[in-house]
Amino acid sequence: MNDSVSLLHFAIAIPLLAAFATLWAGKLGRPAVQIVSVTGFALPTLLAIFAWVSYNPEVAGGYDFVTRHNTGLEAVGISLHLGLNGVALPLFVMAAVVGLAAGLYAAQSKAENLSRYLFCLLVMQSGLMGVFASIDVFFFYFFHELALIPTFVMVGVWGGRERSYAAMKMTIYLTLGAMLSLAGLIALYVKSGAESFDLITLKAHLAAAPLSDTVSTYAFGLLLFGFGILVSLWPLHTWAPLGYGAAPSSAAMLHAGVLKKFGLYGLIQIAVPLIPGGVGQWEGWIIWLALGNVVIVGLVTMAQRDLKQMLGYSSVMHMGYAFLGIAAMSVIGVSGAVIMMVAHGLTVALLFMLSTMIHHRTQTFEMEEMGGLSKKAPVLSAFFVCGMMASIALPGPGLANFWGEFGIFVSLWQFKPWVLCVAATGIIISAIYALRAIARVFFGTESEDFQEVQKEHTVIDMTWAERVPALILIIVLFFIGFFPKTISSSLNDALESEPVYATTEAEQGGSH
């Protein structure tokens, strides 16, 4: 059974082909490398936007662009089954857009062996497109690994300070997380009796014959902590700030922005719908650990002096909200979590990119050694303020982030009001660290260190080559903020058709 080729195949294959073409173009010189690699990023983006516009599933809330190809592994129930539903679509588009921005920025970087660097990035991009397009759980996992391995290489080879330690630590943590979640997925495969890795088949089997309580406890536990490590659930998050601090900016953009969402996506799309009882059994764990993300990591973020580490911690903090949205198990909470994942992906990618631009001008990530940059680089400061305000969900630049957080907050009130009261302190904490960072880097007077640096380097404002990728991210962020229905309506349909979210909704809705 082989369907025709769909745009999803191209979106996955083009970056992969471009990756090898880039290696080959390395012999032809820098411009060739840039053209080939940027094409490899741009085409999937166009395809993703086309998919976004033309998305129209036959069944409301179902999958569109579905294709299935045999891979020779039918015996174990694996086939290349691709498609997008309302949950996957916005993330797929976000992955493409962030990839384009990261690619554009990487293509003009001064990295050694540029063609190999872009090779890694393009392979990663291919994996990312695949993760959100997979219906088959095996391929979902496979594409994640495809994207993960180049990340380690990029951190280890092109990373900054402490790169080998960071790469080692990231590898240990993320491999552990991936292994735990793989064990969970295999448990599902075995225990469901579906003999298939296909998500739709699995879902049908498990709806007919749910797992026993014991099995669901340990299977969900494996998935929760496996995915949890990948999403930097507290206290398993320490790889994240360190890794992002060391990672080259484009790798950090793609990982923090997109790849990290893999775990949350897995929970929303696979773990919770397949094991509906699991969230209830692990509820206390999820809530307390996610609150740890918001409050404890939030406070730790305030203590950071290194700009990039601070961004790393702040992104860990925001993941706590997404976990809480999932724990609420309602359409409002989960759609809030997905919108937040999309908005956060765009925002954090923007901020990592801007932080590297700041580094080029100040030669440091230490915020104490900066100051007064807004005079020399007003446009850069405007972009950074915009990005920071988006990250703290200030309506305007952060309207999309606001919709996400707001949905989560509303669902938390209906779920457990006390959790909301603790979690909402995050809006104060994040304002404190964001404004501190803005003030330290851009306002006030120039520090002595910065004046020293200026003797050797002339500080210029953002160039157009730098502005374009940043603008791409900001425009999409604004667009989603002002027209949230472009992602929320299909998202809603998908979640409403998922019994596990919709029933909880009905029960809670009945209370008033």
């Binding site: 630590k169 240990i172 943590y173 206290p235 320490t238 360190l242 404890i296 406070l299 730790v300 305030m302 203590a303 950071q304 309602s330 359409v331 409002i332 759609s335 809030g336 007064g372 807004s374 005079k375 007003p378 305000m389 200030l394 309506p395 305007g396 309207l399 606001f402 919709w403 707001f406 949905g407 907050f409 509303v410 938390l412 009130w413 209906q414 009001p417 909301l420 009261c421 909402a424 302190t425 809006i427 104060i428 304002a431 404190i432 404004l435 501190r436 003030a439 851009f442 306002f443 006030g444 007077t445 949230p484 229905k485 929320s488 309506s489 809603n492 979640l495 909704e505 809705g509 008033h512």
Partner: protein, 599 residues
Amino acid sequence: MRRNGALASGVSVGAAALILATAGHIIFRLENFEFSSNWIQLGPLSLDFGFLVDDLAKLMLFVVAFVGFLVHVFSLGYMKEDPNKARFFGGLSIFMFSMLGLVMANSLVTLFIFWELVGFSSYMLIGFYLDKPSAAAASKKAFIANRVGDFGFLIGIAMAIGLFGTVSLTEMRELVVSGEVVVGTAALGLLLFCGTVGKSGQIPLHVWLPDAMEGPTPVSALIHAATMVAAGVFLLCRTGFLMTADALNVIMWVGVATAIYAGLTAIAQRDIKKILAYSTVSQLGYMVAAFGLGSLVALKDNPGDAASAVVTGGVAAAMFHLTTHAFFKALLFLGSGSIIHACHHEQDIFKMGGLMKKMPVTFACFTLGLAALVGTPYLSGYFSKDAILALAVEENMTVFYLLVFGAFLTTFYMVRLWKIVFLGKANSENAKHAHENGLVMTVPLMLLAALAVLGGYAGIYPEAMAPLVDMGDAIAHGEHHGTVMVHGIGAWIVGLALAWVVYGAGAKEDRFGGPAYAVLQKKFFFDEVYDFYIAKIQQRVALTLHFFEQIALSGLIIRGAAGVAGLIGIGLKSLHVGSLHQYVYWFIAGLAIFWFIAG
């Protein structure tokens, strides 16, 4: 446009003029209307983007558009030589846009979105002088204090959705009126009130407002006196039907406490803008108290109808005072801006003096604004303050006497300022060389002065805006007119006479000293307490957590399972010896580590 200040200022002022014209059209030509369209659907929750234009919105719209336009014109003169005026006018335009959205918002969520945006534009404009560390600190403080308030506001919105299933103000009101939803808890009202406490500078979050004077003076006039800070009062009026008697009592007392506290503090300040800022805080306290008092009266008189009445006495009195206050306080700030501009950015009143003759137009306008603020009979502030006092007589005599005392304080600190700044002789070189500013700055002053004088007469308002003002006026002239007038004028006379006797014309030094006065100068140590909390507690907790993060998580767990196992072994061994001594040692060791980090 960033590089072309003239163009930017032209566009911005043009936009303000257009806003004024459009607002005029909405107010005078259009009936009350509501427009809404679905913005986002989250599960069963549908959030709309929409406008609700009713009497309340119309009056507020007029205040914002009119004062906004005058401040834009004034800024043309005030910011003429500033190299960054493009950024200034850009910020001002963002503010106008957001404020209009806030005024016309038809749901709590839309309102909250614009609420955050006005906060952001305020942040940008307070920190306008980027290289001044004090400005950067003040803008940060303003934003964070507001976020603390928004924390409650946001939870309140979530709670409202839990109760009503909608955030549309009209739908919520209908549900309350029809009795389908009974708001049985004060929590909802108080959570929403948190937003007001932040935005309108009520105790204990008022600390940001005086510091916000770091921004350019036109910003202080528009945002931090006339419009944005009054948005908190507007929010109360919008959500009045969600309040219970308990909530209203709390709101009333917070307002009264703020009014008195800020009045006392204003007496001891030296910076002309800080005095005006504390005066603003104090008047905002009056408005909040007015809302609480009036709504309590309405609730007592007619519990069934209190929610359905779109305009209660509290709303009318609060909005009446908000309107007159917007006129005279914007006037006072612009006047102080005119003075500061003429004195080359001198803000210390004891370094001014004798400005009456040098700046006659500013002097005349400022005096009229001041007279209106202190409640001189037959000027605007007199009527709007009387309306508040009249409600207090009806509801609570203690509050009445406190508010009369507050009125006395207002007269006292304003006459102090007036006598020191305008009379006598110049006390500094800057003041000596002061001269009157051009028409672009004085004409807005004159227009505002006219409104400060006449704003109390309901008759001058066109019919479309009259309902609230009429009602406010009626309250002021109600059955308690006699009591209120005697006390109000009494406070005015005593304040005026005392200040006149105590302070010398164009004084060089303050009259008082001593510990009690120092408490006033130090603003009752609010800043010190907060600074202590931030520096010694919050920051240390953050650093401690960071320390554990580094040690416990990064260091041990990853450096090897052996390390962890070893550590656990040691830990278990020593924790389970069962000897009290050991526990004490561990306790002391823990304390020592803690002290090492925190100390």
